[in-house]
């Protein structure tokens, strides 16, 4: 299991949880696991999220590997200037 940290705006869609444990070996499995656990997360995830895996920001690579001890944060996709 991988512990995934949600940003605050997602918590109300995940029964108020700050972190969610999912069974995942890749970033793609992290995202699909989250949606399976909390279907309400599908919209914001489809709208675009970044995943920080051990500090490395992954914007789209679903096959990026994730380990059980990886630090995983969901982050809003960046809008820059």
């Amino acid at each position: 299991m991988v512990e995934v940290n949600l940003w605050s705006g997602l918590r109300s869609l995940a029964d108020g949880h700050e972190t969610v444990d999912v069974d995942a070996k890749t970033v793609g499995e992290v995202l699909s696991g989250l949606i399976r656990a909390y279907p309400a997360l599908e919209d914001p995830i489809e709208a675009g999220v970044s995943v920080a895996v051990d500090g490395r920001i992954i914007a789209s690579a679903l096959d990026e590997p994730v380990n059980p001890d990886s630090e995983v944060f969901l982050m809003q996709r960046l809008k820059g200037g």
């Binding site: 940290n5 940003w7 605050s8 705006g9 997602l10 109300s12 869609l13 709208a47 920080a52 051990d54 500090g55 490395r56 920001i57 992954i58 914007a59 789209s60 690579a61 096959d63 990026e64 630090e71 944060f73 982050m75 809003q76 960046l78 809008k79 820059g80 200037g81």
Partner: protein, 760 residues
């Protein structure tokens, strides 16, 4: 591909082209006036359009009568909201509502209808003949007032699920993050300082107003020429808003006369398309300067509470922040980035931040260079400065003691990979500016700043010509010389002269999707894509050489622009230069084209430290910036001169934001300063030379270690200037801009307090 990318080792030395400063490929076009910007296009039979805009801050549109305008000789088409797509949802609905109001004018300058005529003068005359009947509604433009329970509601039901119960209708999004126990942290501190800060909205102030030339045929095929930071985004949005298929709209990006985030957004292109569809002629639409100020996308304004605890030795024990960000009449104020950036420079065990996205009767805010971050830095770095003053500590030593570094858990959650904040602080400390003597009435300010870097969808094509030169097509508009840096990276990889690469910003029909030029991503992402496309090209070149030599392709390497046999058993062949391979490519397998399409992963983050001296006239409150130094981590500077230019430009914009730039709304909710005379960006005589120090701590996510540099440079100046001015006048300045009336008023308060104290 991502796995390949991850394996890429970062090359930081032995560059031949990268790190040099060649002339930009578009240099001659731009110094001779030949470069074609948004408003420079012409099409046969072209009409000129103009937009009618609300003179009211908030009003119900009762009736739009365009009969007099439509009857004017030379007017060929009029459009209202009814001429755009229906059934849109989400952000597309927001964009359409912003560029053409449906039933309510939400801010002064909100577009309500438009005309196209045979000349720009006739179009303007027609606008004066449009009669709109309004029913006035109460308005609000201030963020704090808009959060109050009795504030006029901009659009009920807009808030998303993130917003906790009990907040006003205008609070539409909410962010909260942090870690540790801030109460315990504050309790442990020797000194806790808490203060409230405000910044007004500013504008990107690009010199080129938005402009486009558009054609939309009755069969749904369209052409758009426009100045934009992201023509693929324009394509997507236009298609949705006028109701056609994305691939049927071809968008060409003109040269772009500045954007800084403000041209990541679509304002006029769908209007020109809708007019063109009705008139069946090409339509040119150019905003006036006052339209740019009233109805494009300024920054959010901010109201912020910062609290930081510190030990006597300078160690920070806890930090918390509340950021209330005003983003106009639509959701989107960048409060999550404000929240994430504020404390990012500091290694904090206990940290917490909250952000509110608040709607008002103002134009929909847009990104401006590191959107949301400069305001946070102003507030946070002001409190850090005040703590240093109170505790008698050196501002750089305190920042060094608390600086985030590789392995720090960032204030917003994840762990930092390799970053260069400490190096910028060390370089600032070593810079002669930091220890230079100060003139009378002068203060010196220090600030750090932080911004992310973005990857994003990127496509690049590299086509070889028969003579061995290269046509490189990229899809990110060149907003500051990126054609040069792309050319350099291509030349570096291919081992050919920089001059042999011609870089073109390709249109939407030519390349795969490219995300907007934003998030400091161009040199990073298009650069990475260029390197990958070059490596793809090299693979193909090596294959041709292998076939010619009759050896295995793995036995061919690429060295200095030539294929060479590699390895002990490869055989003995003369190096085969690129031109020799391309000369015969038609007979050896056809054209050679390398390409890359993906979303680069591993964008780095970037930190800067700025030093500024500000002299304040104590009798008038007028501030002169007398010395400025930018120190920033660029990861790797591909073209150092252009990197310096980004540093200097960001600093100059930040100085303007700190001192004189602001949106001024009257009590009627109308914008009062809609021209450059009164929206006061720095002029040449306002600024000193701006010194730069490029720090290079490679980003592990880029083959050469590049970090985006375009945005971070605007993060520290607000705070740095505020700290310098506060030092000069002996009063903590908590509100931007620090105009002379504002500074003089604070000096007056201080003098009266002193006098009162003496008397009492």
């Amino acid at each position: 591909m991502p796995n390949d990318t991850q394996k890429i080792s970062v090359k930081t030395t032995d560059f031949k082209v990268v790190g040099t400063t060649p002339d930009r490929p578009d240099g001659i076009d731009k110094v001779t006036g030949r470069a074609k910007f948004g408003a420079d296009a012409y099409a046969p039979g072209m009409l000129h359009a103009a937009i009618y805009r609300s003179p009211h801050a908030h009003a119900k549109i009762v009736k739009i009568d365009m009969s007099r305008a439509g009857a004017l000789k030379g007017v060929k088409a009029v459009v209202t909201r009814a001429d755009f797509a229906t059934g849109l949802a989400g952000e597309n609905w927001n964009i359409l509502e912003n560029i053409m109001a449906s039933d309510t004018a939400l801010y002064d300058g909100h577009a309500i209808c438009a005309v196209a005529a045979t000349s720009a003068l006739i179009a303007r005359d027609a606008i004066k003949l449009i009669d709109v009947e309004y029913e006035m509604l109460p308005h609000v433009t201030d963020v704090d007032k808009s959060m109050a329970s009795d504030a006029p509601v901009i659009r009920a039901g807009t808030a998303d699920k993130s917003v906790p119960a009990g907040l006003g209708e205008n609070v539409v999004r909410y962010h909260e993050s942090g870690h540790g126990d801030i109460d315990a942290g504050f309790a442990a501190a020797d000194l806790v300082i808490e203060d409230t800060f405000k910044t007004e909205a500013t504008h990107q102030g690009y010199i080129e107003p938005h402009a486009c030339l558009a054609t939309l045929d009755t069969d749904g095929k369209g052409e758009v020429w426009c100045c934009t930071q992201g023509h693929f985004n324009v394509q997507k949005v236009c298609a949705a808003l006028v109701g056609t298929e994305t691939s049927q709209i071809r968008v060409t990006a003109s040269e772009i006369g500045g954007g800084f985030g403000g041209k990541t957004v679509v304002f006029i292109e769908p209007v020109a398309l809708a007019l063109s569809r009705k008139a069946n002629r090409p339509v040119k639409l150019v905003m006036s300067r006052s339209e740019v100020f009233r109805a494009s996308g300024p920054t959010a304004s901010a109201s912020m509470d910062i609290k930081i605890g510190m030990m006597k030795d300078g160690r920070m024990t806890a930090a918390s922040a509340v950021y209330r960000m005003q983003g106009g009449a639509f959701p989107g104020a960048p409060m999550e980035f404000t929240s994430m950036c504020g404390f990012a420079p500091y290694n904090l065990e206990n940290v917490h931040q909250i952000g509110f996205d608040v709607m008002t009767n103002r134009p929909k805010q847009a990104a401006y260079r590191a959107p949301g971050s400069p305001m946070a830095a102003f507030a946070v770095e002001s409190v850090v400065d005040e703590l240093c003053n109170e505790l008698g500590l050196d501002p750089i030593e305190v920042r060094l003691m608390n600086a985030s570094h590789e392995g720090t858990k960032a204030s917003y959650g994840p762990t930092f990979q390799r970053i260069g904040l400490v190096q910028t602080l060390e370089a600032a400390k070593a810079h002669p500016h930091f220890t230079a003597p100060l003139a009378e009435n002068t203060g010196r300010g220090i600030s750090c700043g932080f911004w992310f870097n973005h990857g994003g969808e990127t496509s690049v094509t590299m086509a070889l010509s028969e003579d061995g030169t290269v046509a490189l097509s990229v899809g990110t508009p060149d907003i500051g010389g990126s054609r040069a840096s792309m050319g350099q990276m291509a030349a570096e990889e291919l081992g050919i002269p920089y001059e042999d690469v011609r870089v073109t910003i390709a249109d939407t029909a030519t390349l795969g999707y490219n995300e907007i030029s934003h998030g400091s991503r161009v040199t990073y992402a298009s650069g990475l894509a260029t390197i990958e496309a070059a490596r793809d090209t090299l693979k193909k070149l090596c294959k041709r050489a292998a076939a010619k030599w009759g050896i295995d392709e793995d036995a061919v390497a690429w060295v200095d622009g030539c294929a060479v046999p590699s390895g002990a058993n490869a055989g003995d062949f003369d190096p085969l230069p690129i031109g020799k391979i391309t000369r015969s490519m038609g007979r050896t397998g056809g054209p050679i084209v390398g390409h890359y399409e993906a979303t680069p992963e591993g964008a780095g983050v970037s930190f800067a430290t700025h030093i500024v001296d500000a002299q304040v006239d104590p009798e008038t409150g007028k501030t002169a910036i007398t010395r400025y130094t930018v120190v920033q981590d660029a990861g790797k500077a591909i073209h150092p001169t252009y990197v310096e230019g980004q540093f200097q430009g960001g600093a100059a914009q930040g100085i303007g934001w700190a001192l004189n730039e602001e949106y001024i709304y009257g009590t009627d909710g109308r914008l009062q300063n809609t021209i450059f005379l009164d929206y006061r960006i720095p002029v040449a005589s306002d600024l000193p030379m701006i010194d730069t120090v490029i720090v290079e701590v490679p980003n592990p996510g880029h083959p050469y270690g590049v970090r985006g540099v375009g945005e971070t440079s605007i993060c520290p100046p607000l705070a740095a200037v505020a700290n310098a001015v506060s030092g000069a006048v002996g009063v903590r300045m908590t509100q931007l801009p620090m105009t002379p009336p504002h500074i003089l008023s604070e000096l007056g308060k201080k003098a009266r307090a002193k006098k009162g104290g003496a008397n009492g």
